[in-house]
């Protein structure tokens, strides 16, 4: 990584109107949710939609657009005496810092002010990790697909997949195997979708696990333990690292 590039990418992004707008929208929504809802757990449940759907969408689409718009600039950087790997990682770091900072100001600070609890902290950590993961996925799609509109299209489809289609398939699986004890398998399957992992973690924290009945108990048994938590965090980090790693590997050989 190259600190100079990170520094310049961040200073470029912090002046980006979309990022500023994104931060403001997050901030407005979180404040209005927390001010209208006096029960913090209910507030956090309302924040869920924001964190689980809006944040990934903005992160993946904005990062894709930014990467495509920076294609020439990235090419210019490549023509400079710089390692390709460090260029790509630096750009990721810049994007990731900007998106997580926007999230932290927009959601993290209001949550810590109005709902400083284990569930609030889980919500913020979940959102931060989701920001990283979806920036990382964007780097992968942007490096693999040369055409801007196709790339942004794929980014949106991927978001749809994680936010919607995956759950639909999960539901279908549930119906098919309803007669079997599938709860433990479901934990494994849910690991394939970072949005689901975050959602379940937060729901368990706001004590909706009682409503999740037997499923909730099984999930609590897993996520409630240190080992389970460790595995979950590792899986989330893998979700950040793997797309980035594939993207960097491809970028090293890419023709610009």
């Amino acid at each position: 990584m190259n600190n100079k590039i990170i520094k310049y990418v961040i200073s470029d992004l912090l002046r980006n109107r979309t990022i500023l707008f994104y931060t403001l929208v997050l901030l407005t929504l979180s404040l209005s949710i927390f001010l209208m809802e006096d029960n913090t757990d209910k507030g956090i449940a309302s924040m869920l939609n924001l964190v689980l759907f809006v944040v990934p969408l903005v992160c993946i689409v904005f990062s894709s657009i930014y990467l495509y718009n920076s294609a020439e600039f990235i090419a210019l950087l490549v023509s400079q005496p710089l390692k390709r790997q460090s260029i790509w990682l630096s750009i990721f770091m810049g994007l990731a810092t900007a998106m997580t900072l926007a999230f932290f100001i927009g959601v993290g600070i209001p949550t810590f002010i109005f709902a400083y609890s284990l569930s609030g902290i889980t919500l913020v950590i979940g959102g931060l990790l989701l920001s990283l993961i979806f920036v990382s996925i964007a780097t992968w799609t942007a490096v693999r697909i040369r055409d801007k509109s196709k790339g942004i299209g794929l980014a949106i489809i991927l978001w749809l997949y994680f936010a919607l289609i995956f759950d639909a398939m999960l539901l279908f699986l549930l119906f098919q195997f309803a007669d079997y004890p599938i709860e433990k398998m479901m934990i494994a399957v849910s690991m394939l979708n970072p949005i689901d992992i975050s959602r379940i973690l937060i729901l368990l924290e706001i004590d909706l696990s009682a409503m999740m009945g037997y499923t909730g108990a099984i999930f609590r048994d897993f996520f409630g333990t240190h080992i389970g938590m460790l595995i979950t965090v590792l899986v989330m980090l893998m979700w950040t690292a793997l797309p980035l790693w594939f993207a960097t590997r491809h970028f090293k050989k890419k023709d610009l």
Partner: protein
């Protein structure tokens, strides 16, 4: 200075460079010409490491550039279309490049910076700049670090006549400093008085690499543009006889 051996590049099924062999020496201003899609830009990009060749090798000062990156500090590159992070100011872009190159300030070549009067627009954001101004910034950056090799992709496109003249004079001066200058350009007349060698490419193949004098003699014209037109017009005639020109 730069030696290219059996360089080939495929984009999928399309072969854009076919077994290119070239040897470029310092003190020359080489014009790389050819119709659209002939592989000029790809060739430049392989030298810069932006495109990874399918086969063949490139040596810069005797070193194979495969998987290398440090050699690029010897190269100044002015892209065809200079795009920079749109929210950065010109000053920041310059600072960033200086940061990246790590060249001490007393070794910087600020001639173009001064002549293009970039100092007066340091605070302007890149997204507000016209194409011409961006070209000026790109040119300024290419020359700033005193590189041994200058690669200029369509340098005069978008520049006003005054700026073009400044750039041409700068190129001439650098050539005299025994640097290697590689230029692609469509607008041939701009370059007539600079060029010392011509590389002509077509369909990914190197058609010839000649000195200007040779070319003029071969085609029987005394103007570069006419010579080129001649080459393009009668390219079938040349295909056979040109092959071993160096």
């Amino acid at each position: 200075m730069i030696k290219i051996e059996k360089l080939s590049k495929h984009f999928g099924k399309l072969q854009v460079l076919k077994d290119i062999d070239l040897s470029l020496t310092p003190g020359q201003c080489i014009s790389l010409i050819g119709p659209n899609g002939s592989g000029k830009t790809t060739l430049i990009k392989t030298i810069l490491g932006m495109v990874v060749p399918s086969s063949g090798n490139i040596y810069v000062e005797g070193k194979n550039i495969n998987r290398e990156w440090a050699y690029r500090s010897d190269i100044g590159y002015m892209p065809q279309k200079g795009e920079y992070p749109e929210n950065m100011s010109i000053g920041q872009v310059l600072d960033m490049m200086i940061d990246i190159r790590k060249t001490p300030s007393h070794l910087l070549d600020n001639e173009l910076y001064e002549k293009f009067e970039i100092e007066t627009m340091l605070d302007k954001r890149m997204r507000t700049l016209s194409g011409g101004t961006r070209q000026k910034v790109s040119a300024c950056l290419a020359f700033m670090f005193n590189p041994k090799v200058l690669i200029l992709d369509e340098p005069t496109a978008g520049l006003d006549p005054v700026a073009t003249e400044i750039l041409k004079e700068k190129i001439i001066r650098e050539k005299e400093k025994n640097k290697l200058i590689l230029i692609t350009s469509h607008v041939l007349s701009d370059l007539d008085d600079l060029v010392s060698q011509i590389i002509y490419m077509q369909d990914g193949e190197l058609r010839f690499h000649k000195s200007l004098a040779e070319l003029k003699a071969d085609t029987g014209t005394d103007k570069l543009s006419r010579a080129i037109a001649h080459v393009m017009g009668y390219k079938t005639m040349f295909t056979k006889e040109v092959i071993h020109e160096q």
